[in-house]
Amino acid sequence: MTLPQLHPDDGYLLDYATGNLSVPFAVLIASHLTLCPACRDTVKAFEGVGGAFLGSSEPAEIATGSLAAVMQRLDRKTAVAAATPQPVTPALNGLGVGRLPRPLERFLSEMPKPPFWRRAYFGLRTVRIPNYGECRSRLMRIAPGSAMPRHTHAGNELLLVLQGGYSDHTGNYDVGDVAYGDPALVHKPRADADTGCLCFSVWDAPPLMVGPLAPILNKILPV
């Protein structure tokens, strides 16, 4: 298994370590971490900083009886067994995508309705995922060799390649790689000819088509 070459920047890894990410972004980062030991090391360093702050805090006063209250609860039936991750594929079988990083499998399997593919554009199918506030996410499958319409991004987008890969003028993106999109990037991604591309995309503002057909595409594309 080759290791990812393109990583989320330190800002996102810090946000992850401090818990300052909305759920879909956290799912994407945790899925990348599943595939990327190097970024796990960075997150570990940031968590170490949290540990240092916690360990060096000037002790606060604990309520009387607090320890006794906790001691009493030690023997309760714990939900630990239920909390340990179980394989969660059944709800996802209909997608026909095989295994995905577990953080993403769990996220998809917790959707209110079982996820399903819908046609979004020539060669593009997407799974719609409910919004989290301003934050949206989609699973996308681009057919082998298909190109997406030229577009830019109104805000910030992170994209994780899950299977196959794609290219644009900035380079090639393979399994585990994270691509970053913002208003400065205008691109026309094309899925690899042999494998196509399965990816998970999260953004805080929608993609914007550019070019002569943009006004129509922006209206009709059910991205």
């Binding site: 298994m1 290791l3 920047d9 330190d10 800002g11 810090l14 946000d15 401090t18 818990g19 300052n20 990410l21 759920v23 956290a26 799912v27 945790a30 899925s31 971490l33 599943t34 595939l35 990327c36 030991p37 796990r40 090391d41 960075t42 570990k44 360093a45 940031f46 968590e47 170490g48 900083v49 949290g50 540990g51 240092a52 702050f53 916690l54 360990g55 060096s56 805090s57 000037e58 002790p59 606060a60 604990i62 607090s66 320890l67 209250a69 906790v70 001691m71 609860r73 030690l74 714990t78 630990v80 991750p85 295994r99 995905l100 990083p101 577990r102 953080p103 769990r106 996220f107 585990g176």
Partner: protein, 193 residues
């Protein structure tokens, strides 16, 4: 930044030893001692993050209970006890404040890519790492320390910090990169430059 002197190496060993006793023998005396050492700091940390007293107290109890339940999952060769407890406190707090379950990579995941060189480290090494990390944090240049402080104690994402400090996002990212390289050096056992 506050002084970072309280957590000495000796205490790091003590904490790891107590967690091991809880994991191995469900040792209640060990838990009571661990509670005495950790709970006041967990609570202080939550208060600094802006929790009110009642919430901080409840969350502290939840965190300590999770320490008991998950003691067997603590890997002393990978992280300091305080770091492990920080992650539990982070997850519990998100659960409580946002009603969301924080998502983590799962080492049992069939797709999980192992580190090429998995090096378990001794208690001594972990304690040394942690104290040089303290030192590195205390010695961060003010502009980097400020950013770290906002991330850990004001619930700010890095993009939010850029907006609030009226800095270009690129500046925040580059300061962060500088801070991280100092912190990683400390963790690798070199003193920060």
């Amino acid at each position: 930044m506050q002084a970072l002197s309280r957590n000495d190496d000796h205490e790091g060993f003590r904490l790891a030893d107590l967690v091991r006793r809880i994991a191995a023998e469900s040792d209640r005396d060990a838990f009571a001692e661990l509670f005495g050492l950790l709970a006041p700091r967990v609570k202080a940390f939550l208060l600094r993050q802006g929790s009110d007293n009642g919430t901080a107290e409840e969350l502290t109890q939840d965190v300590m209970l999770a320490v008991w339940d998950r003691a067997a999952q603590f890997d002393a060769g990978q992280a300091a006890v305080t770091t492990w407890v920080f992650t539990i406190a982070r997850n519990r707090r998100i659960d409580r404040l946002r009603r969301e379950r924080w998502i983590e990579a799962d080492p049992e995941d069939p797709l999980f890519v192992e580190t090429t060189v998995e090096s378990a480290e001794s208690d001594v090494e972990i304690a040394e790492q942690q104290s040089s990390l303290h030192k590195a944090i205390a010695e961060l240049p003010e502009e980097q320390a400020q950013l770290i402080f906002m991330a850990y104690f004001q619930d700010k994402a890095h993009s939010g910090i850029a907006v609030e400090r009226n800095l270009p996002l690129g500046t925040v990212k580059s300061r962060l990169r500088l801070a991280l390289s100092r912190l990683k050096k400390a963790l690798a056992g070199n003193d920060a430059p």
